[in-house]
């Protein structure tokens, strides 16, 4: 039952690979649907998830990732060969499409529509030369204090 004071979830998204972009967006959009106030603080590589020039083409690398499914068994070191990241990414994208799962841009849009607070870390932007206009609309440019101000009253706080 929704209480007078809404529940809150605060998530830090620090990774920019295709696989790691999903959990923050899935949790935040679901939370928002359940009348929970949600915020995601995008920092370091996590910023790519809300970068208009990058979020359609997030990648996942087989190298260093022994859990990555492979059509044929092969040593992990094969992942260092040129093109393996592209192959791994294409495979994962086709698996995602195969179950009719939303793309990252679609999930970002879902979060924004559901009024998830999307916070972009200012030092990361400075460091990587990313401008506010490179990011999706409705992003709030903020620092750690703004995130903490929200997260201090959160019932769930996650670092992804």
């Amino acid at each position: 039952m929704a209480e007078e004071k809404r529940k809150r979830i605060a998530i830090i998204a620090s990774k920019g690979t295709l696989d790691m972009a999903y959990p923050p967006l899935v949790l935040a959009s679901t939370a928002a649907a359940m009348d929970v106030e949600a915020a995601i603080f995008f920092t370091f590589y996590g910023m790519d998830i809300i970068n208009k020039h990058k979020y359609k083409s997030l990648k996942v690398a087989p190298i260093g990732n022994p859990a990555m499914p492979s059509p044929v068994p092969m040593p992990n070191i094969i992942g260092m060969l040129p093109g393996m990241t592209a192959i791994g990414t294409a495979m994962m994208k086709s698996m995602i499409k195969g179950i009719n799962w939303p793309t990252i841009p679609e999930l970002v849009e879902t979060c924004i529509e559901a009024e998830v607070k999307m916070l972009a870390c200012t030092p990361t932007m400075e460091m990587t030369g990313v401008k506010k206009e490179d990011l999706v609309d409705n992003v709030i440019v903020a620092g750690a204090a703004e995130y903490l101000d929200f997260a201090l009253d959160a019932n769930i706080s996650l670092f992804v």
Partner: protein
């Protein structure tokens, strides 16, 4: 059970059924009934959790032709 609106979530996976259910309920009047059709196995526990947290009462759950059917009453 008569429903005022039907939401087809067949073939959709988490988080879409819950997100779309919320969106559809937002467009409805209080007391109206929404029928949600899901094939996502997680919906069996997701929909009751959604109902508990949002206060939109889950009136009935049943299975029809391999799909889970939920009837939710808008708060």
């Amino acid at each position: 059970m008569e429903a005022d609106q039907v939401l087809n979530c067949r073939g959709m996976h988490c988080p879409l059924p819950v997100v779309k259910t919320k969106k559809t309920l937002d467009s409805m009047q209080s007391g109206q009934i929404l029928r949600v059709e899901c094939t996502d196995k997680g919906a069996v526990s997701d929909m009751p959790a959604f109902s508990r947290r949002t206060g939109n009462e889950l009136l009935e759950t049943r299975e029809e032709e391999g799909a889970l059917i939920f009837f939710l009453k808008k708060k």
